[in-house]
Chain length 309, copies 2
C-alpha cells in the first residue's frame, strides 16, 4: 500500500449543478451508490443553495434521505449561509462545505455580499456546524485568478484561508474556479500558504481543466506535500458564474495517475469509471474525462470481440 | 524572454494520418500555413510511408512542393525505410524522422520487421540523410509501455536510443504510443537515459493523452531538464496500430502551460488556436484539446456580444 491521498468527489454536487439536464433523484442516488461501491471515501452529494439558484439540486433533502448510512463514506453538502445550515442540520447530513471567493468582484457576483460579510456569515455557520458535531470544509474560490479581476493577491488568499481555519473549518479547498492556474502559480500559492503558517494537511486543491492544466497542477501540489484533491467523476462540472469555465478535473484521470505513481486512494478505478459511464448515460451526453473515454472505448471493443466469438 | 522550449508540431502528420476524413492537399496547405503564421518552429507535415498504408498522407510530394521555403520553419517528413528516404530526397524536404519500436511485438506488427532489422535499416537511412545534409530525428515508440507486451525494459529503450544517436540522429523522441506513461515512469525513463550517457539535449518527449496524463508527464520531463516536446494542434492524432490509443497532447494546452510558467516557445497562442479551429472545421469534427475548446467558446461568446451591440 502506497502513501494515502484523499480524493474528495464533487461530481454529484459541483458536476450536476452545471448540467442542463436535471437528473431525477433516483438517478442521482444511482450515481452516488456507484461512487460508494467504487470506494470513494468523501462524496459531496448536493447543495443547500436556494433551489431558485440551482434548480438541478433542488431535491437535496430527498437525495440525502436516500443515502445509505455507514462509516465508509463521508457525505458532504454545500451550505451557503445560516438558512442553508439549518436545512443541512434538518437533513441529517454529517459534513458540510462552505464557500466564498478571494476576489471581491467574484464574491459579490456569486453571493451578492462583500468578502467581509461572507466571512462573518461563514464564521457563524462553521461554529454552528462544529457545535452540532458536523465536519466542515471551506471552499475558497478564484484563488489562482479571477475572470473579472485577473490576478489575485496570494497573500489575501492565505489570510482568508487562515481565517476560515481559525473559524473551525477542518481544511480549506483552494479553488481554481475558471482554470487559470498553472504549475508555477500553484507552487507560489502553496508555498505562500505554508509560509503563512497553514499546515499542508489543512489544504485541498480543487482544479478545473478549462485550459488542460488540472492534472499538471495536481502533480505540483503533490510534489509540495498536498495530499487532498477534489475531482468530479468523468469530468462533470464547472462554475456557472465564470465565463468560459469548463469542467472539473475528472476523478478517473486523477486516480489513474495517483495509482500509477504508487499512491493509494482506496478507490477501484474500473468501478469508478463505471460510475462515470452511468452519469454519461443518465445525462445523455459524452463527458470530457480522458480515462473515462478510454474506459468506454475499451468496454465497447471487448463487447464487440465477445459478440464476434 | 524566458528559457526556450522547442515544440515539434506533429498535427499535419501524426494527427491527420489517424483521421477518417482525408483532407484535400489545399486544406492541408492551409493548416500548415496557419501553423507557420503562428510561429511554430518545427512542423512535421507528411509521411513517406506507403500510401497503401496511410492513404491520408498519399499527397506528401504535392504538399511539400507547396510549402513556403525560408529559414523560420523546419519542415519534417516521416521516413520508414530506404525507399521512403529516396522519396524524401526527391521531394526536397530538409528534415526527416525515422521510427522504430522498443517493443519487439509492436515493431513487428507496425513494420513487419524485427527490432534488429529495423535498426540496421535505420542506420543506413540516417547515414544517407546526414550525407545529403538533412536533419534527422528518430522516433522510439512504446518506450513507456506496449499494448501487446505490457511493461517495457527501460534499459533496452536507453540502449536503442543510444544506437540511434550513434547512427547520426540529432535527437530521439521517446514515444508514449498508447498513453501508458505517468510522471513516475517518465522520471525513471529520463533518469535511466541520462545515466546511460544520453544528453538531455538529445531527448524529446512525445506524449499521448489517452488517460489524461500527457501534460503532467511533460511537466515531469521539464523539471528534469528536457526542453523538446512533440504535440499536435488541437489534439489531432494517435496510433492506428495500438488498440485504445487516443490523440496526441494538444499543442495549445502545452504552449499555454509553458507560457504561463515563463518559458518561451516563439509561438503565438491565439494564432495557434486559430490553426486548431481551422483543422476542426476542415475535418468537420470537434477536436479534443482543452485550450482549443476554451478558445472556440470564447470566440463564440465574443461574436455573440458583438452581434448584440
Amino acid at each position: 500500500m502506497g502513501e494515502r491521498v484523499i480524493i474528495h468527489e464533487v461530481g454529484p454536487r459541483d458536476g450536476l449543478q452545471n448540467e442542463a439536464v436535471v437528473l431525477p433523484t433516483d438517478q442521482k442516488a444511482g450515481l452516488v451508490a456507484r461512487l460508494q461501491a467504487a470506494g470513494c471515501p468523501q462524496v459531496e452529494v448536493s447543495s443547500f443553495v436556494r433551489p431558485r439558484w440551482v434548480p438541478q439540486l433542488a431535491d437535496a433533502e430527498d437525495l440525502i434521505r436516500s443515502l445509505p448510512m455507514g462509516d465508509e463514506v463521508t457525505w458532504w453538502a454545500l451550505v451557503p449561509n445560516r438558512r442553508g445550515m439549518e436545512r443541512a442540520l434538518e437533513s441529517g447530513i454529517s459534513a458540510v462545505a462552505t464557500f466564498m471567493s478571494v476576489s471581491e468582484t467574484h464574491n459579490e457576483k456569486n453571493v451578492n455580499r462583500t468578502s467581509k460579510e461572507s466571512l462573518e456569515s461563514l464564521r457563524e455557520v462553521i461554529a454552528t456546524a462544529n457545535a452540532e458535531g458536523l465536519q466542515v470544509r471551506a471552499y475558497l474560490s478564484t484563488v489562482f485568478g479571477c475572470p473579472y479581476e485577473g490576478d489575485v493577491d496570494v497573500r489575501r488568499a492565505a489570510a482568508l484561508a487562515g481565517e476560515l481555519l481559525a473559524a473551525g473549518a477542518e481544511h480549506v479547498s483552494l479553488g481554481d474556479t475558471t482554470g487559470m492556474a498553472d504549475p508555477s502559480s500553484v507552487q507560489r500559492t502553496v508555498e505562500c500558504m505554508v509560509a503563512s503558517g497553514i499546515p499542508l494537511e489543512s489544504l485541498a486543491l480543487h482544479m478545473h481543466d478549462t485550459r488542460g492544466t488540472a492534472l499538471a497542477n495536481v502533480l505540483t501540489g503533490l510534489r509540495l506535500g498536498v495530499r487532498r484533491f477534489d475531482a468530479a467523476v468523468a469530468g462533470l462540472g464547472g462554475c456557472p458564474y465564470a465565463p468560459g469555465a469548463s469542467g472539473n478535473l475528472a476523478t478517473e484521470d486523477l486516480v489513474h495517475m495517483l495509482h500509477a505513481m504508487g499512491y493509494s486512494t482506496g478507490i477501484d478505478l474500473d468501478a469508478l469509471a463505471d460510475a462515470g459511464a452511468f452519469a454519461s448515460q443518465a445525462l445523455g451526453r459524452a463527458l470530457p474525462g480522458r480515462y473515462h473515454r478510454y474506459h468506454l472505448a475499451r468496454m465497447q471493443r471487448e463487447e464487440r470481440e465477445r459478440s464476434a466469438c
